[in-house]
């Protein structure tokens, strides 16, 4: 299967589901926009365990105790610093003084802190790491939740097949809006959210394990 074949198949499914089979009715570019919007929507709605490709890792060395955020960064999950990979704690920007004079919160390579804020020197946002040395070049590993890459006719989605189906649902809902049928769109969204809830429920720690009992009605 060539790169982009899955994406092309998704476009065809959107066309079939919406009854808009021809490019005279809706362009592929429009449909790809809806599919990509759906992928971003699901990237925020689904649990990390369902979208393993979006939990990404960046690594390198600090530059003056700072990290340039990856271009697809949405939010951080774990930051590890130094040869021992000490897990850093986030610090509220408004409570910055907490790590300046409080003897219980002394930043070091063993107990690093971090926050994300605009950096005047870089004229850009940076992840600022506090290890007790403002010019630190220690190694870091940053695990973060990423923006899914857009799909197109040459690029397949990184999300699994079940989520691709949901992207198609989302795109069909958007097309219903284009067809001035917002009530139908609402019905599709309701179904989409049922699917989201069911998929997410597997990651609820109170969820059952039904393989621990014999099937009934046997």
């Amino acid at each position: 299967m060539a790169a982009g074949d899955i994406s092309d198949s998704m476009v065809a499914q959107v066309r079939a589901r919406s009854g808009l089979e021809s490019v005279q009715q809706v362009t592929d570019a429009d449909i790809f926009r809806f599919l990509n919007a759906g992928q971003r929507y699901l990237g925020l709605a689904l649990r990390h365990g369902i979208l393993p490709a979006l939990l990404k890792r960046a690594s390198g060395t600090l530059s003056s105790s700072k990290i340039t955020l990856p271009s697809d960064f949405i939010y951080e999950q774990i930051l590890m610093v130094g040869a021992d990979e000490s897990v850093a704690r986030p610090i509220a920007t408004a409570h910055y003084d907490q790590i300046l004079g409080n003897t219980l919160h002394v930043p070091s390579l063993d107990t690093p802190y971090y926050q994300i804020w605009y950096d005047s020197d870089a004229s850009a946002v940076r992840l600022n790491v506090y290890v007790g040395n403002a010019s630190s070049t220690a190694a870091y590993v940053l695990d973060y939740w990423a923006l899914p890459p857009d799909i197109d006719t040459d690029t397949d989605p990184v999300v699994p097949a079940s989520v691709q189906t949901m992207m198609v649902e989302f795109a069909v809902a958007r097309l219903r809006e284009y067809q001035r049928a917002p009530a139908v769109k609402e019905q599709i969204f309701a179904q989409l959210h049922e699917n989201i809830n069911v998929l997410n429920s597997r990651y609820d720690r109170m969820a059952p394990r039904r393989d621990a009992q014999a099937p009934s009605y046997g």
Binding site: L44, L100, N197, Y203, A207
Partner: protein, 227 residues
């Protein structure tokens, strides 16, 4: 190309209103609704979710001057550093305590206080007032208002905010353009749900996100999705 993302958002909003040619809604109207959406997002999102709108305003201190202009694009302040020392925010309503000699507060160069009045930051550093030894600064860390987007200016907030802002603009189109308040309200509920998902990782309402998958809660299906 600058403005491409904004143009995409405009096209999506107009398309979702069944008006791809901008016949019912002008480009200027749609842009106004999109910009209103970004401002609404700043109001309703936690600061950490708005890391792309963080800013620092560095002002050279002037000896004897205690008041300094707030930046024109400020949405809300977060932190003030007086000569790199975090200053303590003080309620303007409790000014009497700060103004009178009070051993408990003890405003000084090393224990600075600040408040906001008359569009300015006012710093309190005790007797003698602000000093300047060379190039010392007052640094304000703040969340800024989003830059107004246009067909040549893209939003600062990432693409993961795009669905939300489109939905907010669609809500305004329904209420102001065609006067369907029910559909407008429905879109607004979608908008709030989008922002809840964006805020969720920061406010502790999300259950464990990974781990060993269990079996699904099928009640979601058998109850007709009412849970």
């Amino acid at each position: 190309m600058a403005g491409e993302i904004t143009q995409e958002i405009m096209a999506n909003v107009a398309g979702r209103m069944g008006d791809p040619a901008f016949d019912d809604f002008t480009e200027a109207e749609v842009l106004a609704y999109i910009n209103a959406g970004y401002r609404k997002i700043v109001d309703l999102c936690v600061d950490r979710a708005l890391w792309q709108l963080t800013a620092v305003d560095e002002t050279l201190l002037v000896a004897g001057t205690s008041k300094y202009d707030l930046p024109s694009d400020i949405a809300r302040p977060t932190l003030v550093l007086y000569k790199t020392i975090p200053a303590i925010i003080w309620s303007h309503a409790d000014m009497r305590a700060l103004k009178k000699p009070n051993a408990n507060l003890g405003a000084s160069e090393t224990t600075p206080y600040w408040t906001v009045v008359d569009g300015d930051i006012e710093v309190f550093v005790g007797d003698g007032g602000v000093t300047q030894a060379g190039a010392e600064t007052l640094d304000l860390w703040y969340i800024k208002e989003p830059t107004t987007v246009s067909e040549t200016v893209d939003p600062e907030l990432g693409k993961w905010f795009q669905n939300a802002v489109e939905t907010y603009a669609v809500s305004l189109c329904w209420s102001q353009g065609q006067g369907d308040s029910n559909q407008s309200r429905t879109e607004l509920i979608h908008f709030y749900a989008e922002l809840q998902r964006i805020n969720a990782p920061y406010i502790g309402i999300v259950p464990p996100m990974d781990g060993l998958p269990r079996d699904p809660q099928l009640d979601y299906l058998f109850s007709g999705g009412q849970q």
